[in-house]
């Protein structure tokens, strides 16, 4: 398979000023030395708790945030070195879908204007070609043409998200970052939008970085899944491998924590095993999961584990843990 996007040792640090007169400066490592690849036509799911840096990672990959260090290669071109016009040109083939369709659509623009915006920004097509394209897109996201003259306020959450998807697809991008695109929607609407997204993936053949905190959602749409914990990737594997034989203790805990909608005497008696996160126990050198990990030993507090192959399929299944082989 061809690599479309390669992220190498990407980091994004924020400086946090606190204390009296904000003199005390500390560094928050939102994304810390993250590397991965996305192949063409593939969807990589990215899961983690809130605050683990998954959205920052998604934005930094598109250079919506400037990286502190590291580089991103899109079709072999280094994005970090690109400036102004070149970056703008390459952005045409990279799009983003945001979480909250209530704030990602401009309330003063009609649906038609919103969908035309990408064509206008990148000066693509004549006016009639643009119109044709918009009609095609609207049909694809199963919305009637009468909606063209309406404003976002007239639309429900699910409809707005479909417009946001149509806008992202307008210029036939090769790569889309979808940041929690269904978390703001009700369960029944969620499944509708997910089905739409996966059918487009087949049809248009784009690659996707799909960010979500919901494991069941990620499982439905991804080919491979990466698990993030406090700024680092702890496990990355093919979907089947990750869900059937998770290796990292955090991934295991995450899967165990999802409540199952089935009556099960055993699960009703069982207690969740993970210790609560205690900020004061975090060691700057060692593994980020150290204070909560049931397997933790001395080495875990001293040395940060790197992602390395594990299990039966070491090329596709990588885990960052000293105790997993």
């Amino acid at each position: 398979m061809k690599t479309l996007l390669k992220v190498s040792s990407l980091s994004k640090y924020y400086t946090v000023k606190e204390g009296f007169f904000r003199k005390k400066v500390s560094i928050l490592k939102a994304v810390d030395d993250v590397s991965f690849e996305i192949f063409s036509g593939e969807t990589l799911g990215l899961v983690g708790e809130s605050g683990c840096g998954k959205s920052t990672l998604g934005r930094t990959v598109l250079r919506l945030n400037e990286a502190t260090s590291g580089d991103i290669f899109f079709k072999g071109i280094s994005l970090a070195s690109l400036g102004g016009g070149d970056l703008r040109k390459i952005r045409r083939s990279m799009q983003m879908i945001f979480q909250d369709p209530y704030s990602s659509l401009n309330p003063f623009m009609t649906i038609e204007e919103t969908l035309k915006e990408p064509f206008y920004v990148h000066s693509v097509g004549t006016s009639s070609e643009q119109d044709e394209c918009i009609r095609f897109l609207l049909d694809k996201v199963r919305m009637p043409l009468s909606y063209l003259k309406r404003y976002p306020k007239d639309l429900s959450g699910g409809q707005r998200q479909r417009i946001a998807i149509a806008r992202a697809l307008a210029l036939k991008p090769d790569f889309i970052v979808a940041d929690e695109p269904v978390s703001a929607l009700d369960v029944s609407i969620q499944s509708e939008v997910l089905q739409l997204l996966s059918s487009f993936k087949e049809e248009f053949g784009f690659s996707c970085l799909f960010i979500s905190h919901d494991l069941a959602v990620v499982e439905q749409i991804s080919d491979r899944v990466a698990v993030m914990y406090l700024g680092s990737l702890v496990e990355i594997a093919r979907k089947e491998d990750l869900f059937s034989s998770p290796k990292h203790p955090y991934t295991k805990a995450l899967l165990e924590a999802v409540p199952r909608p089935v009556y099960d005497e055993e699960r009703r008696k069982k207690y969740f095993s993970l210790k609560p996160l205690d900020e004061k126990m975090r060691s700057p050198l060692g593994c980020a999961f150290y204070s909560r990990c049931p397997l933790a030993t001395r080495i875990c507090s001293e040395e940060k584990p790197m992602l390395k192959g594990a299990g039966n399929n070491p090329f596709n299944h990588k885990v960052a843990c000293h105790h997993v082989t």
Binding site: S50, V187, S191, L194, H213, A257, P261, Y263, F272
Partner: protein, 334 residues
Amino acid sequence: MEKEFNPMAENILEVENLEISYPSSFSEEAVVREIFFQIKQGEVVALVGESGSGKTQVSLSIIRLLADEARVAGKILLAERGDLLLLTEKQMNKIRGKDISMIFQEPMTALNPVFTIGFQIVEALRAHKSYSKKEAREQALYLLKQVKIPNPETRLDEYPHELSGGMRQRVLIAIALASQPKLLIADEPTTALDVTTQAEILDLLRELQKKSKISILFITHNLGVVAELCDSVLVMYRGKIVEQGSVKAIFEKPSHPYTKLLMNSVPRLGEKLRVQELPPSFQNKISENACIFFERCSFRDQDICGSSEPQFKVLSEEHKSACFFPEKVGEKKL
């Protein structure tokens, strides 16, 4: 009725024919109606339904926190206290926080940002019992230990912004339990939390519930949480209870088409998304007397369901469904 007979013997709460309406010049229609249920001592009851189904209205009516315009009819009987709807505001204040406590969905907004955690727990403690300063602080510390907050001594003097969402929810649980209430109303207490934090909070609630035999009314839309924590389930749809029963009965044999729909639309780990079977749309105007689920129901019978509202059918000792064909619905595999 014989004198010794006490219907409240093991029920902590009995709700009888509760109806809530917001009278306006346009309509008198009730937002919640015909609600009957009981909560036994030490029982965890789930109240499930989609947004707008009236779950929160029911819970707020029990603790009498509905808006002033709300018109509430029926009976809400609390053990040893009688009908809550007949009490004055002053009498009610003695019950809130003491007999009945509540925890809310948003741990971010439920705490006051300008006071320390300790101050807010002590405030709850002193509302119903007099404590000296030292005693109150000790008691607050004990409560923080109960809800398993690491380093409770230092946490007491911290402000809410210094705590994570899960920790704040623990503090709120500590405040709710301060006066050892008989009934805890938990309105979506884990919805805003991450899965691992959610699991921790559920464990905590389960443990506290076992220890103190408190009854919990747990409002949620997450069926997974219901299956793992609750003993019995009330399913609400458009202001009415459509199915109620033990958690085992509801999950093994859901017998109302709405419960069935809910079960089918939850994404489950390790399973492909189930494609929803949608009923053919109904062209004629739906009669006012029709079953409330008529439009969305794939089991409906044009004549029977279209002309009258179904009454509860008893399926087993603790399982009832407000549907004309509960057996047919229950038989069909999920």
